[in-house]
């Protein structure tokens, strides 16, 4: 009996050592997202600051380029985080909320609906990877992988990124080891400032999206689920569309989202309608002809958003709290 216990302990020790080794390999081979594709760091950098986060913004790249948490802090002491990766679908956003609530319940969740215009079949592995590789293992992550992965992809490749990225040994650099356990944040609470400027075409913004403008069932399902989850957990919800000078939108989307918002008695705002109030100038405030906001546009929009949230939602003012302050001051 004693020998058997000893044997079992030996096996457990062996498994632990192998897991440590495999974990190290995972960290070494996963793309580092430090010097390029930095939005790949957004998900993982949330966890150390999760307990100091009162407002979460979920959405796609339009969010992480337009909402600067430093401005929200400076204006009204709002502590926030952009859990928004490039091409982040509504289902990934839903699981980002579920994952965030699991770590630390926020006061308010703001859901950007820009990406709702894409269909149920939208799959883009690099984007899914960037959103999920940094997510801590949990049932939410497993469900999120299931909801997001393409037909040819395998769950195991997401759980063990080594399976997906092991062939990177051919392009291995010292940075892969240097940044394997890199802890220093490369985003500012999920915000990635873009200092470039490329003016949008002049003229008034007119939406010209063609074809079917019905929001796909999967998008509707996860949007509803996100609202219901927040409602059940006592978290306030706001639906919004980040301002952008892009014609790839339709008023039909606004109408459908508004219907859902009314059903749950929550607010939906398309900030494109408030361009003048915000003070956005698409000849200087965009890095890519209006698809996203640059840092100048982000400052304007974030300041406006900060005021709007303070006036319309119950969000804590943390301006006197040093623990919160150090997340924003000097960054």
């Amino acid at each position: 009996m004693r020998d058997t216990v000893k044997d079992i302990l030996k096996i457990i020790l062996k498994i632990v050592i192998i897991l440590v080794l495999v974990n190290a390999l995972n960290r070494i081979f996963i793309p580092k997202y430090v010097n390029e594709n930095r939005d790949g760091r957004i998900t993982q950098e949330y966890y150390p600051v999760s307990r100091y986060t009162d407002v979460i913004f979920v959405g796609s790249s339009t969010v992480h380029s337009a909402i600067d948490p430093r401005v929200l802090w400076q204006e009204n002491g709002i502590s926030s985080y952009d859990r928004a990766n490039a091409s982040q679908t509504m289902w990934i956003s839903y699981y980002m909320i579920e994952d965030a609530i699991r770590c630390h319940k926020p006061e308010l969740v703001c859901i950007d609906t820009t990406f709702i215009k894409y269909g149920d079949d939208f799959v883009e592995e690099p984007s899914t990877r960037k959103a999920l590789d940094g997510m801590r293992m949990s049932p939410s992550k497993i469900r999120c992988i299931k909801a997001s992965m393409g037909e040819d992809e395998k769950m195991a490749d997401y759980i063990m990124p080594l399976f997906r990225f092991h062939s990177r040994w051919k392009e291995f650099t010292f940075d892969d080891i240097r940044y394997a356990y890199y802890k220093k944040p490369v985003t500012i609470n999920g915000y990635l400032p873009d200092d470039e400027t490329e003016a949008a075409d002049p003229g008034e913004l007119v939406y010209t999206k063609e074809g079917d403008t019905t929001i796909s069932p999967k998008n509707v399902k996860y949007l509803r689920q996100a609202i219901e989850l927040c409602r059940d957990k006592g978290v306030q919800v706001m639906l919004f569309k980040v301002p952008a000078h892009s014609s790839n939108w339709s008023r039909d989307y606004d109408r459908q989202i508004n219907d859902i918002a009314k059903e749950y008695n929550i607010t939906y705002i398309n900030f494109d309608d408030l361009n003048d109030e915000i003070g956005l100038d698409y000849s200087t405030d965009t890095p890519d002809k209006g698809s996203h906001l640059n840092s100048s546009g982000a400052v304007k929009f974030s300041a406006y958003l900060s005021g709007y949230l303070k006036d319309n939602y119950s969000v804590s003012d943390r301006s006197g709290d040093v623990k919160y302050g150090k997340l924003y001051i000097g960054r």
Partner: protein
């Protein structure tokens, strides 16, 4: 469920936990359930075939035994009342009945195998015949059967059992479920080894205590198998395939390199798969028969076949070669020739005819295309030539005073055997017999055009992969060399613990990092899994 999948690893882990948790007398039941679950996961339709084989073999064995018991009881009851001749005649009658039962079992089972494997091959020839002689273009459609998982392996194993029961080699297994486990034991069902009842049954039905060393040893073997399969075999597959497919463009040394690499690929693939099977079985405390014994160090073709796919070779030897050698008709034919002045030929007939049959069926076993049959017959031819020219070879050795035991002579024989067998494998990688001959001819042309850079850039074997493949092949050969002096794993386990960890870590890193798997790769399933 592939051997190379997380699913399989979890499946084995779960089975091991249950196996070592239940009372020891129930362990074989866990193995049976695991085997059938494994089989069901791979396709429920597979069930029907394995069930037919299991039930038919069980019933036939029971009937054969029943006839034997009847005989014993009859002879005992009539011990004093029957004459010697009556006894002999009665025994012959019983043997005949037993033979009929055996034949029924064999025809039913091999009939299924032949039908599934050769239906399309036969249809192709029937269509050709009808077109050539009657001008008929209403072709019979192909059946396109998908072979049930491991059918060739479990079929041969079970029919071997039935033949052994007929010859009275073993007592039959009375417990149907235990017998079902013998047929379906999951680690070996995909690609062997083909076990004998006498060896496997005691291992399967015994009670096994948990032992860390055995688990560790099995794990090392699995990792070594994965190394051969993922780092070597799958890395080379695309290069071999593309070079042979474009043989008119990439001639000479390109084909020679592809032939060499294919030998490495198939060895890595098949022996790697066997290592996984044996490693998994070892974790359950079950020892399976080795299927490889450093085949590339064989000094003759006969020796090679004693070292490569050992269990299939011994199956053919025991159930085809020996029975045919002792066949009255063949013996009579040999005797007839000896008495009519063909002394040498008469002596060889009882050996060469069965050998021809063995190689013909070996070829057929490997696939339903003509190229496999030709491959088998070439093996047979080379073995016969080796035997016939042995006296001449000995004379040469004697005349030039060559030392057979010297390193150079041994190296020469190993080299010669390796390349002969490698060249024969061209039939394996070509689409048909003329293509194989064409590829062989092209080896000897245009050597000057060879550029390694073209291999890297145009033949799906980039420089980095080429280097990894060469290093991995060297490692494999070094391990094979060390293994001549005993188990490598036992040597590793005598090392200080930190060194053991270094070895294991290197193995894990080699497999997980340099393995050819995951998205973007076309990691093939095991080549022998298709047989």
């Amino acid at each position: 469920m592939s051997f190379i999948s997380i699913g399989f690893a979890l499946f084995v882990t779960a089975a091991l936990i249950v196996y070592y948790t239940v009372p020891k007398k129930c362990q074989w039941i866990v193995l049976l359930i695991a085997s059938y679950v494994f089989y069901a996961i791979n396709g429920v339709m597979n069930f029907i075939y394995i069930a037919v084989t299991t039930v038919s073999a069980y019933v036939c064995a029971a009937l054969i035994e029943k006839k034997g018991t009847e005989q014993k009881e009859y002879l005992k009851a009539n011990k004093d009342s029957i004459t010697k001749d009556e006894k002999k005649s009665y025994k012959a009658g019983i043997k005949k009945k037993q033979k009929r039962i055996l034949a029924l079992g064999l025809i039913l089972n091999f009939g299924i195998l032949v039908y599934l494997k050769y239906a399309d091959w036969s249809i192709a020839y029937i269509n050709l015949f009808r077109l050539s002689f009657f001008g008929r273009t209403d072709f019979i459609p192909f059946k396109n059967f998908i072979l049930p998982l491991g059918i060739s392996f479990y079929m041969f194993q079970t029919m071997g059992y039935l033949i052994d029961i007929y010859y009275g080699k073993y007592e039959r297994e009375h417990n149907f479920l235990k017998f079902a486990l013998f047929v379906s034991f999951f680690p070996q069902i995909v690609q062997g080894p083909i076990s004998r009842f006498g060896e496997l049954a005691p291992e399967l039905y015994k009670e096994t205590a948990f032992d860390f060393d055995r688990i560790r040893s099995g794990f090392y073997r699995i990792m070594w198998g994965l190394f051969k399969k993922l780092v070597i075999a799958d890395r080379l597959a695309a290069f071999v395939r593309e070079t042979i497919a474009q043989r008119d463009t990439y001639r000479g040394l390109y084909i020679l390199l592809a032939v060499f690499m294919y030998s490495m690929q198939i060895y890595g693939d098949f022996s790697g798969g066997i290592d996984v099977a044996l490693g998994v079985a070892e974790m359950f405390g079950i020892r399976l028969h080795e299927n490889f014994e450093r085949p590339f160090f064989a000094k003759s073709i006969s020796e090679y076949w004693q070292r490569w796919h050992i269990t299939l070779g011994t199956w053919f030897k025991d159930y085809i070669f020996y029975p045919l050698s002792l066949n009255k008709g063949i013996l009579k034919a040999g005797k007839f020739l000896r008495e009519h002045g063909f002394e040498k030929l008469g002596k060889r007939i009882p050996i060469y005819v069965p050998m021809f049959m063995v190689w013909f069926t070996t070829g057929m076993w490997h696939g339903s295309q003509n190229r496999f049959v030709v491959w088998g017959l070439f093996n047979c031819l080379f073995i016969i030539l080796g035997t016939e020219f042995e006296p001449l070879s000995l004379k040469i050795v004697e005349k030039f005073k060559l030392d057979e035991g010297s390193f150079c002579m041994r190296a020469y024989r190993v080299f010669k055997t390796f390349w002969l067998m490698s060249f024969l494998r061209i039939f394996d990688i070509s689409s048909d017999v003329p293509s194989a001959f064409n590829a062989f001819r092209l080896i000897f042309t245009d050597w000057r055009s060879f550029r390694l850079a073209r291999v890297y850039e145009e033949l799906s074997l980039p420089k980095e992969d080429f280097i990894v493949a060469v290093i991995a092949i060297l490692v494999m050969f070094i391990f094979d060399l060390i293994q001549r002096k005993g188990s490598v794993r036992k040597r590793i386990f005598t090392l200080p613990v930190p060194l053991q960890w270094c070895v294991l870590s290197l193995l894990i890193i080699a497999v997980s990092v340099f393995g050819y798997y995951g998205p973007g790769y076309d990691a093939g399933s095991f080549i022998y899994g298709a047989f």
